[in-house]
């Protein structure tokens, strides 16, 4: 990509991570929200535990609202979308106004969801818009390095989430091989040793998920 600075690579990488995080969070949210409607009122407690966050919520409804829309909670979906937006808007010249527009629209839709009585409707639109963003990026941006840096961010984020969710080894293997295939097409500084270790650990039946997770974090360490 030639003219990309480390700062730009960092923003593109995190743009990938945050968009993926928002997308994944919405699908998880949908399940929990559905159960909270008429079934298990305490389901949110298990959810807190699984996410490793303190249970500071008053009720299932309180949890449902805050985890999606509380801008003061850094873990909320809206906070992650804002972070995606922050990284996207400074990349306008690389990803184009056309592509960036989907993030603007997703944020506008998220704000509508916040006021909605049936937020899953608008959240569905947010999800669609994130897909559109990725699609537009793929289609409209000529620079392969730019596209792939965002994708590396997505892959790392997806791996991290799969590990947190105790996903099957097969899913992990698929993600790791995608990552290995793509990572050298960008100028993103990364730790090759950590990548190879992580790949080996995923294949090793006895490797502990927490250990793999730490190794995955080391693949693209902070470089700014």
């Amino acid at each position: 990509m030639g003219t990309a600075t480390l700062g730009k690579l960092d923003s593109l990488f995190w743009l990938g991570r945050y968009t993926e995080r928002v997308y994944q969070s919405i699908s998880m949210y949908r399940e929990v929200y559905d159960r909270l409607i008429d079934q298990d009122a305490d389901v949110y407690k298990q959810e807190c535990e699984r996410m490793g966050i303190p249970d500071t919520f008053e009720s299932g409804a309180d949890f449902a609202w805050k985890i999606a829309f509380d801008t003061s909670n850094p873990l909320s979906i809206i906070s992650n979308l804002y972070r995606a937006y922050d990284n996207a808007m400074i990349m306008r010249d690389e990803i184009s106004s056309e592509t960036l527009a989907y993030i603007h629209l997703a944020l506008a839709e998220m704000k509508r969801a916040k006021k909605s009585e049936a937020p899953l409707m608008e959240l569905q639109n947010v999800e669609d818009l994130i897909f559109a963003f990725w699609g537009c990026l793929d289609d409209k941006v000529d620079n392969e390095g730019v596209r792939n840096t965002v994708k590396i961010g997505k892959r790392i984020e997806r791996l991290d989430i799969l590990l947190r969710r105790n996903a099957d080894r097969e899913d992990l293997l698929r993600e790791v091989s995608r990552l290995v295939a793509r990572i050298d097409t960008t100028e993103l500084p990364y730790n090759r040793k950590a990548l190879l270790y992580a790949a080996a650990m995923v294949e090793d039946e006895d490797a502990d998920y927490d250990d793999i997770k730490k190794m995955v974090w080391d693949i693209v360490p902070p470089f700014l």
Binding site: T3, T5, L6, G7, P189
Partner: protein, 438 residues
């Protein structure tokens, strides 16, 4: 034309979609807000525009000659056309620029000239902005969106396409480029005009950079890309002079590029616009622009200044004090609509105080006749009723191989019915500006 009004909703939707925003600081917090857009365009006929265009080309040509002269021989001062005090006491005069030779001899590459139309039909120049005039991106993107929202409007009215601005800007950068990349240097994400910086980078293909992305070595500027250092030949910087380089200007600047000024002095990079231009767009120097045109070009000045008085001259001071209530007084050191006082709005005490200041520091002020300018209609909040508002026009003049005027411009209006102040930082909105082809 009225057709566009019907599409105001679609247009606003598109503005939101593309994030057409500017930043403001309110109560110490940074906020981004939409720049209010009014769909009723300002329309300028072909003949009228031809007159404006010829005047602006002449004016900017003279201003560039002035800048070259001032930081060199200073002939215009030696020949007694402009008193030397006005040069050396201007806050925009930078001693560091003495002897500076800019690539291709151009100092003001992008000039934003503010005009108003008087009720007499004549256009008057309000001020010249030769440092880092902003705003071109707004009518540029707005036109694109209006064409999307209401194609039939543009099928029926012969409006000059204004979407060549990026090409014009790029031509200018390429022309003065000393060899290397074109970059746009932004002070950062929290700058009021960040949208514009990133949008113009996208549209011109220049690389958007922050100060820390650039480095200077052996008096040459480089972009520190992940793939290695790459030579930079032109920097369209949106950082003001005083913060541009801590080794040349404010030593405490943290948003500057150390050494960039020396690289320019050595002829190794073009800085767009050149530092030191403030001496030519100073409100005190404004008075002398028609004289500059005559002096450098030997032509009669085609643009009209608003009738202006300099209390520096005894005769003018007398006039200003006698007609205080009819005049608008401007502090030459202020910008952005600040430091502007209408004589008739002051209380007795304030007036006496103000007059004392003028007497003590006559060089600090200029006084102008209040031009009764044409109001433009804007759509009221109901989206239906046209309501008159004060409005000005910023025309963009680009100097490269030739001096060209962009066939459009930024029409700003005041949202407050009683206000003359149209600056976006004070809540104004904008309109598209149509130049008709026939």
């Amino acid at each position: 034309m009225q057709e566009l009004n019907k599409h105001v909703k679609s247009i606003n939707h598109l503005l939101e979609r593309y994030g057409v925003r500017f930043g403001i600081y309110k109560d110490g917090m940074f906020k981004e807000q939409l720049f209010p857009f009014d769909p009723i365009p300002r329309v300028i006929g072909k003949e009228e525009w031809d007159g404006i265009e010829a005047g602006l080309i002449q004016r900017v040509t003279a201003l560039n000659m002035f800048l070259k002269d001032i930081y060199g021989e200073k002939k215009i001062v030696k020949d007694g056309v402009i008193p030397p005090e006005f040069i050396f006491s201007s806050s925009g005069y930078l001693a560091a620029c003495e002897g500076l030779k800019t690539p291709k001899g151009i100092a003001s590459h992008i000039s934003g000239i503010d005009l108003v139309q008087g009720k007499d039909g004549k256009w008057y120049i309000l001020e010249d902005n030769l440092r880092i005039p902003s705003g071109a991106s707004y009518p540029l993107i707005a036109r694109d969106l209006c064409r999307t929202a209401s194609p039939s409007t543009f099928a029926h009215i012969p409006v000059a396409d204004n979407r060549n601005y990026a090409k014009m800007l790029r031509d200018t950068m390429d022309y003065v480029n000393t060899g290397g990349l074109n970059v746009i240097l932004t002070p950062g994400r929290y700058n009021a005009a960040f949208f514009e910086h990133s949008y113009l980078a996208e549209k011109t293909g220049a690389v958007l950079v922050y100060n820390t992305d650039l480095t200077v070595e052996d008096d040459k500027v480089y972009l520190k890309s992940a793939a290695g250092n790459q030579r930079v030949g032109a920097v369209y910087r949106r950082t003001s002079d005083e913060y541009l380089d801590p080794l040349a200007f404010r030593p405490d600047s943290l948003i500057g590029v150390p050494g960039i000024f020396q690289a320019m002095r050595k002829g190794n990079v073009a800085i767009i616009n050149a530092p030191g231009n403030g001496v030519a767009d100073d409100k005190g120097i404004y008075y002398f622009v028609p004289k500059m045109v005559e002096y450098y070009l030997g032509e009669e000045c085609k643009t009209n200044n608003a009738p202006t008085y300099l209390p520096y001259y005894e005769e003018d001071k007398k006039y200003v004090l006698e007609h205080f209530d009819d005049l608008v007084i401007k502090d030459v050191a202020e910008a952005g609509g600040y430091g502007v006082v209408f004589g008739n709005t002051l209380t007795k005490e304030k007036k006496a105080e103000f007059i004392a200041t003028i007497k003590a520091e006559p060089r600090r002020f200029i006084a102008q006749e209040v031009i009764d300018f044409v109001d433009l209609d804007i759509l009221d909040e109901d989206g239906v009723t046209p309501t008159p508002r004060k409005a000005d026009l910023r025309a963009y003049v680009l100097a490269g191989e030739t001096v060209r005027v962009w066939k459009s411009g930024l029409t700003r209006f005041s949202r407050n019915p009683d206000s003359f102040i149209v600056n976006s930082s004070q809540g104004g909105g904008f309109k598209d500006t149509w130049v008709l082809l026939r």
